[in-house]
Amino acid sequence: MSNANFTFDGKKYTGVSGESLASALLRNGVVHFTNSSYKDRPRGLMGLWVEEPNALVNIDSGPGEPMKASTTIELVDGLVVRSSQGVGDLPDTRDNSRYDKVNRHVDVLVVGAGTAGLTAAKKFAALGKDVIVMDDQPGPGGHARHLGTEISAELLAVLDLANVTYLPRTTVQGLYDQGYLVATERRTDHLDAKVHTEVSRIRTWHIRADHTVLATGAFQRHLVFANNDRPGIMLSHSAATYVTRGANPFKTAVVVTIDNQGYRDALRLHEAGVTVAAVIDIRDAASGPAIAAVNSAGIRVITGKTALDSAASDSGQVCCLTIAKADGTQSETIDADLVAISGGWTPIVHLATFIGIKPTWDPALAAFVVKRDDKLTSTAGMLAGDFGDDNEAAVFFGPQLTAEQAEVAFVDYQRDATVRDFNRAIGAGMRSIEHVKRYTSIGTAHDQGKTSGTTTMGLIGQALGKAPDEIGSLTFRPPYISIPFAALAGRDRGLLSDPIRTTPIHAWHEKAGAPMEDVGQWKRPWFFPKNSENMHAAVLRECAAVREDVGVMDASTLGKIDLQGKDVGEFLDLIYTNMFSTLKVGMSRYGLMCGVDGMVFDDGVTTRISENHWLMTTTTGGAAKVLDWLEEWLQTEWTDLEVFCTSVTEQISTVAIVGPKSRELMSRLAPDLDVSNEAFAFMENKYADVAGVPARIARISFSGELAYEINVPGSFGLHIWEKVMSQGADLNITPYGTESMHVLRAEKGFVIVGQETDGTQTPQDLDMDWIVSKKKEDFIGKRSFARVDTSREGRHQLVGILPDDGSFVIPEGAYLVAGSDEKTPPPVAHIGYVTSSYASAALGRSFALALVANGLARKGEKIAVPMAGRVVTGIITDSVFVDKENARRDG
């Protein structure tokens, strides 16, 4: 055992490495730890472990952590802490510690390495099961460890078995359906007071266990009497443990008990050198080996009485205890600087209640217990009511108090909630624990009712003459103890919080300095700034280059699905609103998909590669959704159709060259290809060698301009892009990003599914009735177009908007109202909203697309856009702004 130097509230102390901070402070004579959060009353150490309500600290050394129970901090050299008066504060600096997550499947997970847990582990290990034993304490032994009882070496040996994994310092935070657990393992805080960046500070375990043994043990309860919160009033089990280990600032103790545990602790205090003035037992008569031992040690025992009130010395520490009968009569006072309370055991039922198990009240033990043994879950030890042979108890939570006493009799220390608060709740007619809890805030602080839960139910029962289990049941929720969010985040931080998808050309975009736009998980170049251009200037330049010269865009993110089989045409006729079975080999067609509700679902261009081989493209964000959709119909409805679908999104990299000079550039890239309009028509596909790579070239345009999409295997995407850039240098080849793409397509009135649509638009709403086949007997969505709601007047329809002020870009999402009358008093009914809005180089002004009620019939009408502090006016137009005749697409 080595010494460790630490700082508490600015003062330096020395303790023993590895003991708890609470123990070290007690060893240094610190009995008054802090003051309570609401009433500023002096408070000291109560407990032994995570049940501690008072002795909280903020850790300032290492990674830092607020509001941690000093009972759970293992002392290391250099530890710096401040007492926390109920409220914590986070360190100002970033925590650079490493946090971690691990997944594990196991046959049996045992929670708790006390006698019961080890016994269960031994049983399952002997059956050949894989076993993980998790325990939140630094070593095995559970209660026995605190009692100073040796766990037999034979039992401990189970932890060394090959099929047993023992994880100390590991707290099961949540237990969920189907044997799913989440636990946090503290891996470095006990080593030193440093930030660890290479070994994780906390590892979060996600476990799937075929069977879970809950052997979680129990906490000791306090009793509720006047001034029961003074420093020096402790749980007897914890007081005896600290004192036995040499952390003993006490001279004279009084033990107040309702069960035989109080006698065992009295004996331990006595043996450690504390004068035990008396054991006060509420029971009139009690028996058992512990009582016999106390008697033979000559310790005074007073039966039929309990604690009523306490008084403090100048330091705030308890100096004497008034005891009385349960009704408050026949009081007498005993001097003591330690009042050790044994208010009964509260088995740790948290994990059991997380999965919906209701604990049952055992009056003989004065405790809520959980007896469970099914396929998924079993309980053992104190949780299951196994308290040993010498543990008779009275059902008693505190004496009758006067109104004055009730004001200083604490039920929940952390909330400073008293019997007076409690009585008011009962007086207001509340009977359920859930109501009393919310009215008084009992059980809602840092410890979440670990000490006060059963006590509250007991007190309600005592007040109403009912058993605690008639009041309601204890319900807890994860996490079991408070933990840093970083621990729960595990590895899902920073770059790893969500996958980033990139195309083969991404590195080029980054090097060119393009800011990225998030499109689903994809990173797409937003625009390519030249010199110190802002986005507005860059987009105007890029759009002008596309309309006048030639631009290039990375279209590799589009979803792509390979379809093969003799029935693909028939299948696509059912999936798309328009006809596909008539499409000629080598041709592409734009298609729109709807859900059965008739609402637009996705769109894209599909190409017939050969008679039975097709290639579908989807929106960038819709690829996975569309593949699921196709498989759904093939697998669950039209199973006789011979169609196989394969995702090829990343297999194909697509480089689109767009603009009047794209024909010249295409001919340079593929000298053997006849790129004339006669030989290579709009919507046609050709195969050619492009810069040494076999490519499929498609004349598809999302801008209205002459355009060629060069499709090559992904590994060659960057090579093709670089060739396009070098071959097009003298043609003003201009890379453009998603923003220019959006402007160019909006100028043509092309919709983007997800921007112009939100799942409530039919093709007709989008002014796309032309794409709805009238010939086909059925396709998905067709029947819904005839529904009353989809065919009614007044639906929002896609139109264009030209603001009167052509220099003003209406914000996307802005609401539109009819007319331009600024004097109409609010509220003014809105008639629609803007879906896309840009400044256009081609138009030399701003424009927008919008969904407007009855919009198609309102072209030419005035609209107004109420903005903060002003009203912008404009006019409803057609949704196509550039090249209504489609003259530009052929160059």
Binding site: Y176, D177, Q178, Y180, R208, G356, V596, D597, A624, L627, D628, E631, E632, Q635, T636, E637, T639, E777, D778, K782, R783, S784, A786, R787, V788
Partner: protein, 93 residues
């Protein structure tokens, strides 16, 4: 997190699946012959009982198969899973 028994791959985490609502609702033979109420029943009305329900799920991140499975909407327990167009196992009680 639910552990969903895929009939092809075995039990897997919920994150690998997408939900498909109530099972055994077939696409109507001839949608155009249905009146609005009948069509709306097919499109919009799904059972949401308290207790056992036969549901559809698709193992999107795995084998990509659609399948049916009994699930208890109260306890989150899973009953047997089964492939489409196979005999539906009895509801667990």
């Amino acid at each position: 997190m639910l552990h969903i028994p895929c009939p092809y791959c075995g039990p897997r985490d919920e994150t690998e699946f997408h939900y498909g609502a109530e099972a055994h609702i077939a696409y109507p033979e001839n949608p155009q012959s249905l009146d609005d109420a009948q069509w709306a029943k097919f499109v919009f009305i799904k059972a949401n009982p308290k207790g056992w329900l036969a549901e559809r799920w698709v193992h999107s991140a795995g084998c990509r198969r659609w399948f049916n499975v009994w699930r208890n909407t109260i306890t989150h327990e899973f009953g047997p899973s089964y492939k489409p167009f196979t005999q539906q196992p009895k509801s667990p009680v």
